[in-house]
C-alpha cells in the first residue's frame, strides 16, 4: 500500500488491465454502446461511460463490504451485463473474478468456490442464490452473496445477501466519502497481476483452476484483434457460458480492447430470435451450433413448394461452386459472379437474414472438427466462418486460419506470437504470451503441463500438413494402436461419421484389436424426419434404431467413410469392419458422455463390454440389458437384442496427397 | 262513418295487402336463416331474377342476347315465339333449383363455420352477382309481367262501400287492387303449404331438425349440404312467387330487388326464425307505414314509406332487442 502519490493520481498510460481500458473507453467513446441486454422487450443499452459508472458504483460497493486486493469474486449466472460488470469491478479492486458454469449442480460449484477460497459471490437470481445458500456452510471463506434479480427473494434471510442495486447505492455513498479510493486501486493494478481464474470443466477428475494474468488475456486479445482487423464497430451476441475461456476472450477481453458492443440475450430460449434481431458482425459458435442451423434449414426447406426447393437447390449449387472462391478472393467468371449476385437476392441474402447473419463479418468455430459440408455451406453463403484451435491454458488462441487460407480439415497457422510444434510423441505443444500462469494450488499439474521453457502440452495428437496448417487427429491419450502397431485414432473416424446428419454419436473401437468396429447412435430428429417422410412407423427410439432401412442407411455412410479412409495411408487400417446401432442414446445422465457431450470411452467400454465382444466374435446379434436414469431421477433398465452388420472395406489406394 | 275513418280503413286494408307482400319476401329470408343461419340479403334479387326469367321465357327472349350481339356482331333478340305461362313457371322453377345447386357447390360449401356477418356479406355479393347476371341474361329494360292474374281496383268493393259514408259527404268507395287480394290469397296458401311441408314430409322434418340443432341433425345422418340445396330451392320458389306478385303489380325492374330491404325491418319485428313472425311483422310494417304516410307524411313532405319501416324497427329494437318472437338474451360471463 505504499505507493508513491504521483503514481496513483493519474490513469496509467499503458492500458494493461481491464479497469484501465474501461476508463479509457469511457473517455474516448463515452456515448458508444458498450453492452446491451434484451430485457423488458427492448435492448436496454449502456454506453461506455454509463457502464464505467455502474462498474465504479459496484466496485465501491464491494470495497465498502471489505473486498480487498486478492479477494475472489465468484460469478454465477447467464450472460448478463451486471455479471460482466462484476468481473471488471473485482479487477478494479485488484480482486480476481472466478466465473462458474451456471448450470453446475451445487456440489460442483462448492468444489470450485471452496478451492478458490471465494469470499464474495455475484449471482444471477433466486435459483443461484439457493445453490449458494446450500453450500454456504461448506465454504468457510464465503461471506457475501450479491444477487442481480431480487424476484422471489423477499422473504430470504438477508444476513449474507445483498441486492445488486442496493450495493451500488452503498458504493456511491462510499465513493462520496472516499472519492479517490477506486482510482488509486485501479492504478495499482498491472499486467502482471492475476486477472482471472478459469476452471476447466475437465473430462476426468476435479476441475482445475487456470490462473491467468491480465497480460495473458489482454496481449492475446490484442493480437487476435489485429489478426482479424476487429474494430469498435463489431456487435457480438454473448450466449456461451461466462466461465468458458472463449466467452471471456470474445465477449469481455476483445470488447475491452476494441470497445465493441456485447449483446446479452433475454433468456436461453430466445437466443435464436435475439441473435436475429441484433445481427452480429462477429460471432463464435461451436460446430454443433452450425450443424443445428444447417439441419433446421434443411428441414424447413423440405416443407417448401417444389419450385422453391428447386430454386434453393440450384442456387446453393451455384454458391458451392462460386461462393467459397469469392470469399477466398479467387477469380471467378462474370457469369458465375452474376449468378451468385442473383442467388444472393433470391436465396443467400434472405437465408442469412433469417439466421441473423446478414451483417456478419467474421465467425469462428472451434472445440471440435466441423463437417466439411457444414463449413462450406456457411462459407459459400458468404459468411466468413473460420476455424481456430485453442484451449483454456492458451487463453484460446493456438492456431487460427488467416483470411484466404481456409480449409475444413485443418485448423490454421500459429496465432500471432505463438509458437507451435509437434513433439516426438506426436503431441502438439505451444508457447506464447497467452500461456497460463499456473493451475491454482496445483503445482504438480502445472509442471506436468508446462515445462520450464514455457512449452505447454495440448494433449492433442496432430501434424502439420504440407501447406503449413495444423491438422488435429485426436486426443493424444485416446490415440491407440492396433495389434499390428498401426495408429488408431478413434475420434478421427468418429468425426468423419458424425458429419452425416442422421448419425448423432459414434464410438469407434480398435485399440488393441486387429481391426476397427463401431457403435452408432442415430440422430432422432433427422432419422425421425426421414421416417415421417417415408411413412416408416415407429413407437420408440429403440424400434427406429433397429429398423432395417435405418441399418441400410448407416451401412451406406460407413462404407463411404471406409472408401474415404482407404485413400489415406495413415488411416486406411482404420476402416470399420462391423458395426451396430445402439438401442439408446448415449446420455450424460448415465455417465456415458461428459456434460459437454464428449464420449467417456472407459465407461462405455465397461458398460457395453458384451457388445464389443460380440463385434469381434462374429455373432449376428447380441442381447444387452442396460441401466438408465430417467429425467426425474428414477432408475430403470432397458433391454434389447442388437443386430450386428458387416461393412465392406476397401483395399488401400495409393495415397493422394494434400486432398484438403 | 266519416270519410276520414273510411279512408283510414282503406289505408289499413291497403297496408295489410302491402304487408303481405313484404311477408312474402321475409318468408324466404326466414326459411334460409332457420336452416343455415345465413341472412340472405339476395332474397329480393332472387325475386327479381325469377321474375326476369319468367318474363324472358314467356316472351321468348334469347338469353344473353346483348352479350352475344356485342361479341359476334349479330342482331338477335327473340326466338320465334313465346311460351305458355305454366310451362314458363315450371322452367323458371327449374332454373331456380339449378341456381341453388350451383350456389351450394361453388360458394356455400366453403362457408361452413364462417361468422354470420361474413355469410351476410357473401349474400350481398350474391345479390350484386345475380343482378348483373339477370340483367346480362335478359336485359335491364323494364318489362311488364302478365301471368293472367286480374288486376286493377275492385269495382265490386267500391260499389259495396260507397254507401258507408255518412250522408252529405263525398265518398267514392274503397279502393283495393284485386291483384293485392290475389297476392294475399296466394301468400296464405304458400304459408299453409310450407307449414304442411315442414310438418308432414320427411324433408320438412329434416329441415326443422337442422334449424333446431345443426350438430344433432348431422348425427342422425342428414346431409347438411342437401338440406341447403333444398332450402335455397324453396327460397327460390318463394322468390318466384314474390317476383310474380311484385312483377305483376309494378313491372319487372331493378327496384324490385329493393323490396329485400323492406323485408329487413319486417324480420326485425318478427324475429329471424319465426314464420308467423314474418307474417305479422310484414302486416305491422305494411299497415304502419301506410297509416303514417296517410296521417303525418303529408305534413312533412311525403314519401315517408322510404324510412318509416326502419325507424319503426329501430324504435322497436330499443325496447325489445331480441325482436317480437325472439328469446330474451341472458348475458353470461
Amino acid at each position: 500500500m505504499a505507493d508513491s502519490p504521483k503514481e496513483t493520481s493519474k490513469i496509467s498510460n499503458d492500458l494493461d488491465t481491464f479497469p484501465k481500458l474501461l476508463l479509457d473507453h469511457a473517455k474516448k467513446r463515452p456515448n458508444k454502446d458498450a453492452i446491451r441486454e434484451k430485457d423488458l422487450g427492448i435492448w436496454q443499452s449502456w454506453t461506455w461511460s454509463k457502464a464505467a459508472e455502474e462498474i465504479s458504483a459496484l466496485a465501491n460497493g464491494l470495497a465498502s463490504l471489505g473486498f480487498k486486493r486478492g479477494d475472489k469474486l465468484a460469478i454465477v449466472g447467464n450472460n448478463r451485463p451486471r455479471l460482466y460488470w462484476g468481473m471488471c469491478a473485482a479487477q478494479c479492486l485488484g480482486g480476481i473474478p472466478v466465473p462458474v458454469y451456471q448450470d453446475s449442480v451445487a456440489e460442483e460449484i462448492q468444489y470450485v468456490l471452496d478451492h478458490s477460497e471465494v469470499r464474495f459471490a455475484l449471482v444471477e437470481d433466486q435459483e443461484q442464490v439457493d445453490k449458494m445458500l446450500e453450500i454456504y456452510d461448506n465454504c468457510p471463506a464465503m461471506e457475501t452473496i450479491i444477487y442481480d434479480d431480487p424476484r422471489g427473494l423477499r422473504d430470504y434471510d438477508k444476513t449474507h445477501l445483498h441486492d445488486f442495486e442496493k450495493l451500488q447505492d452503498l458504493g456511491r455513498e462510499f465513493a462520496k466519502e472516499n472519492p479517490d479510493y477506486l482510482l488509486q486501486e485501479i492504478n495499482k493494478g498491472s499486467g502482471e497481476d492475476i486477472g482471472i481464474f478459469l476452471y476447466t470443466s475437465g473430462t476426468t477428475g476435479k476441475p482445475k483452476g487456470v490462473v491467468m494474468t491480465n497480460n495473458n488475456i489482454l496481449i492475446t486479445a490484442r493480437n487476435s484483434v489485429k489478426f482479424d482487423n476487429l474494430t469498435e464497430n463489431e456487435e457480438i451476441v454473448s450466449y456461451l457460458p461466462m466461465a468458458w475461456v472463449g466467452d471471456h476472450i470474445f465477449s469481455y477481453a476483445q470488447a475491452y480492447v476494441t470497445g465493441f458492443c456485447v449483446n446479452c440475450p433475454e433468456s436461453t430460449e430466445t437466443v435464436a430470435t435475439d441473435l436475429r434481431e441484433i445481427g452480429p458482425t462477429y460471432y463464435f459458435a461451436p460446430p454443433r451450433v452450425f450443424e443445428n442451423i444447417l439441419t433446421t434449414v434443411t428441414i424447413r426447406m423440405h416443407d417448401a413448394s417444389k419450385l422453391k426447393q428447386k430454386m434453393f437447390n440450384y442456387f446453393m449449387g451455384v454458391a458451392r461452386k462460386t461462393g467459397v472462391d469469392m470469399l477466398d478472393g479467387k477469380q471467378v467468371t462474370a457469369k458465375e459472379r452474376f449468378l451468385y449476385w442473383l442467388g444472393n437476392i433470391l436465396v443467400y441474402g434472405p437465408l442469412k437474414n433469417t439466421m441473423g447473419f446478414s451483417r456478419i463479418r467474421l465467425a469462428y468455430t472451434a472445440g471440435e472438427a466441423i463437417g466439411p459440408e457444414i463449413f462450406d455451406f456457411f462459407r459459400s453463403l458468404g459468411i466468413n466462418v473460420k476455424q481456430l484451435y485453442g484451449q483454456t491454458e492458451a487463453a484460446v488462441f493456438i492456431t487460427m486460419q488467416p483470411d484466404g487460407e481456409i480449409f475444413a480439415d485443418t485448423v490454421g497457422i500459429p496465432a500471432p506470437g505463438v509458437e507451435v510444434k509437434v513433439n516426438d510423441d506426436g503431441e502438439v505443444i505451444y508457447r506464447g504470451p497467452g500461456v497460463f500462469h499456473s493451475y491454482y494450488k496445483n503445482e504438480e499439474s502445472t509442471k506436468e503441463t508446462k515445462n520450464e521453457e514455457g512449452w505447454v502440452l495440448t494433449g492433442d495428437a496432430g501434424y502439420f500438413a504440407d501447406n503449413g496448417h495444423l491438422k488435429i487427429i485426436d486426443r493424444a491419450k485416446d490415440v491407440g494402436k492396433f495389434v499390428d502397431g498401426t495408429m488408431f485414432a478413434p475420434k478421427y473416424i468418429e468425426n468423419k461419421l458424425k458429419f452425416f446428419p442422421h448419425i448423432k454419436e459414434v464410438v469407434a473401437i480398435g485399440d488393441g484389436k486387429d481391426h476397427c468396429t463401431a457403435f452408432i447412435n442415430i440422430d432422432l430428429e433427422a432419422v425421425g424426419n426421414w421416417a415421417e417422410r417415408n411413412n416408416v412407423g415407429y413407437a420408440s427410439y429403440q424400434e427406429l434404431a433397429g429398423h432395417e432401412e435405418v441399418y441400410k442407411m448407416m451401412l451406406e455412410s460407413i462404407e463411404q467413410v471406409n472408401k474415404d479412409l482407404s485413400t489415406d495411408s495413415l488411416m486406411s487400417k482404420s476402416q470399420i469392419h462391423r458395426f451396430l446401432i445402439l438401442h439408446k442414446e448415449l446420455d450424460p445422465d448415465d455417465g456415458e458422455l461428459t456434460r459437454t457431450g464428449k464420449v467417456r470411452r472407459r465407461i462405455v467400454a465397461e458398460k457395453y463390454g458384451v457388445l464389443i465382444d460380440a463385434l469381434y466374435n462374429g455373432s449376428k446379434d447380441c442381447y444387452i440389458n442396460t441401466e438408465v436414469a430417467f429425467e426425474d431421477g428414477r432408475k430403470g433398465s432397458i433391454e434389447a437384442t442388437l443386430r450386428i452388420e458387416e461393412a465392406e472395406t476397401f483395399t488401400p489406394a495409393p495415397a493422394t496427397k494434400g486432398a484438403n | 262513418m266519416s270519410p276520414l275513418f273510411l279512408n283510414a280503413l282503406e289505408v289499413i286494408l291497403n297496408g295489410l295487402m302491402a304487408g303481405i307482400m313484404y311477408s312474402l319476401v321475409a318468408l324466404g329470408f326466414v326459411l334460409i336463416f332457420k336452416a343455415s343461419g345465413i341472412f340472405n340479403y339476395a332474397q329480393g334479387v332472387m325475386a327479381l331474377f325469377a321474375a326476369l326469367t319468367l318474363v324472358g321465357f314467356q316472351t321468348g327472349q334469347v338469353p344473353f342476347a346483348h352479350l352475344i350481339n356485342a361479341m359476334f356482331g349479330t342482331e338477335i333478340h327473340h326466338w320465334g315465339s313465346g311460351m305458355n305461362t305454366f310451362l314458363a313457371i315450371i322452367l323458371t322453377m327449374i332454373v331456380m333449383i339449378i341456381f341453388a345447386w350451383l350456389l351450394e357447390k361453388i360458394v356455400l360449401k366453403h362457408m361452413v363455420n364462417q361468422a354470420p356477418i361474413i355469410l351476410f356479406m357473401t349474400t350481398i355479393g350474391l345479390a350484386y352477382f345475380m343482378e348483373g347476371f339477370g340483367d346480362l341474361m335478359w336485359g335491364a329494360d323494364i318489362k311488364t309481367m302478365d301471368v293472367g292474374l286480374p288486376s286493377g281496383g275492385s269495382i265490386w268493393l267500391e260499389d259495396f262501400t260507397k254507401g258507408w259514408a255518412a250522408e252529405g259527404t263525398e265518398y267514392y268507395g274503397m279502393y283495393i287492387d284485386v291483384l293485392d287480394v290475389w297476392a294475399a290469397g296466394i301468400a296464405i296458401l304458400l304459408v299453409i303449404a310450407l307449414t304442411l311441408f315442414s310438418q308432414y314430409t320427411k324433408t320438412g322434418r329434416a329441415l326443422r331438425a337442422v334449424a333446431d340443432d345443426h350438430q344433432a341433425a348431422l348425427t342422425v345422418g342428414i346431409s347438411l349440404r342437401t338440406i341447403w340445396i333444398i332450402v335455397w330451392s324453396l327460397a327460390g320458389f318463394v322468390a318466384l312467387v314474390a317476383g310474380i306478385m311484385w312483377g305483376s303489380k309494378s313491372g319487372v325492374q331493378f327496384s324490385l330487388s329493393l323490396i329485400a330491404l323492406k323485408a329487413l325491418p319486417v324480420l326485425i319485428l318478427g324475429g329471424f326464425t319465426s314464420i308467423p313472425g314474418a307474417i305479422i311483422g310484414g302486416l305491422i310494417i305494411g299497415v304502419g307505414e301506410k297509416l303514417f304516410e296517410f296521417s303525418i307524411g303529408g305534413m312533412i313532405g311525403g314519401a315517408t314509406e322510404n324510412w318509416f319501416a326502419y325507424v319503426l324497427a329501430l324504435a322497436f329494437l330499443m325496447f325489445r332487442p331480441q325482436g317480437l318472437f325472439g328469446e330474451k338474451i341472458i348475458e353470461r360471463v
Binding site: D39, L40, G41, R151, G152, R154, D155, E266, S267, E269, T270, T273 | I330, V333
Partner: protein, 264 residues
C-alpha cells in the same frame, strides 16, 4: 410467512346478499368479508353460486337484496366498468381474452382504466399520448417478465395454448393494478405442472404486489394450500367460513362434499 403483517383491514364486505334470476334463487343471504392482502377462496360444488358471487362482487349481477361494502364505504349500484375503475379486476372461467389482439395488446388493454389522454391527443400521438403509451408499455413489460411470457409478447392470443392463455389473462388483470383480484377457476383444465406454475404466480402476486385475491377453484388441495380463509357455498347458501383447517373439519362441508347429491 408473516401473516399478521401481510393481512390488513377489511377491503370488501358483502352483507346478506340474495340474488335470483326469474324466481330461481342463485344466492341466499350470503355474508362474508375479504381482508386486505389475504387470499380468500370461495369453494363449493357445481351450481353452488360461486361464479354468481364473483359477478355480484364485480357488479355484473345486481343482487335483489344485500349490500356490498368496499373500502369502508357502501357501494351503490354500479356498472361493471365502474367497479373495475375502483380497483377490482378479474379473470374468467372460460377465458375471455381479446382474441384478435396480441399478448402485449391484451395486457395494455388491462391498463386502460389508468390511461388518461383524450382522443385528440391520441390522434396526434406525438407528445402526451405517446409518453403515456410508453410509460404503460414499460409497466406491462414488468408483468410480462413477472409471468415469464416474453416469448409470446407479440403473438395473437388466439394462437396460444390454453395454459398460456390463462396466464395472459392473469397478466391482463394484473395490468389493471387491482386492489382486489378475482380469479374464476384459474386452474381449470390445467395439468399438474401448469397448476403448480399458476399457484406460484398467485402466491407471488399476493406477495410481491400485495394484491388481495379472491379465487374460485375446484381443486380442493390447491385451495387449501393457497388460501388464508375459505368460504364454502352450497345451493347458494353459505355452509362454512374460516381458515383451511376450520373448513376441512367442518361437518357440514364434509357432508356436502361427500354427499351423493352433487358430483363434480
Amino acid at each position: 410467512m408473516d401473516q399478521d403483517n401481510r393481512i390488513g383491514d377489511t377491503l370488501l364486505e358483502v352483507k346478506n346478499i340474495s340474488l335470483s334470476f326469474g324466481g330461481v334463487k342463485a344466492l341466499t343471504d350470503i355474508s362474508f368479508d375479504i381482508k386486505e392482502g389475504e387470499i380468500r377462496a370461495i369453494i363449493g360444488p357445481n351450481g353452488a353460486g360461486k361464479s354468481s358471487m364473483l359477478n355480484v362482487i364485480n357488479g355484473f349481477y345486481h343482487p335483489q337484496e344485500g349490500e356490498v361494502w368496499f373500502r369502508g364505504k357502501k357501494r351503490e349500484a354500479m356498472k361493471p366498468y365502474q367497479v373495475a375503475r375502483q380497483g377490482v379486476a378479474r379473470t374468467f372461467q372460460n377465458i375471455a381474452l381479446f382474441k384478435g389482439m396480441s399478448t402485449l395488446d391484451n395486457l395494455m388493454t388491462g391498463c386502460i382504466t389508468h390511461m388518461k389522454t383524450n382522443i385528440f391527443l391520441q390522434a396526434i400521438w406525438k407528445g402526451p399520448a405517446e409518453r403515456e403509451e410508453l410509460e404503460f408499455r414499460e409497466r406491462v413489460e414488468h408483468i410480462i417478465d413477472f409471468l415469464g411470457i416474453q416469448a409470446i409478447r407479440k403473438t395473437p392470443v388466439g394462437r396460444l395454448p390454453y395454459g398460456m392463455q390463462k396466464r395472459v389473462e392473469l397478466g391482463r388483470a394484473l395490468a389493471a393494478q387491482p386492489k382486489l383480484l378475482l380469479l374464476d377457476e384459474p386452474m381449470a383444465g390445467m395439468n399438474l405442472e401448469e397448476k403448480e406454475d399458476m399457484s406460484r404466480f398467485i402466491l407471488d402476486v399476493n406477495d410481491v404486489f400485495g394484491t388481495t385475491i379472491t379465487l374460485i377453484e375446484h381443486d380442493i388441495g390447491v385451495v387449501m394450500d393457497l388460501s388464508d380463509r375459505i368460504v364454502v357455498l352450497d345451493y347458494g347458501c353459505k355452509l362454512a367460513d374460516g381458515t383451511p383447517d376450520v373448513v376441512r373439519n367442518d361437518q357440514a362441508v364434509i357432508d356436502a362434499y361427500l354427499g351423493v347429491s352433487h358430483d363434480d
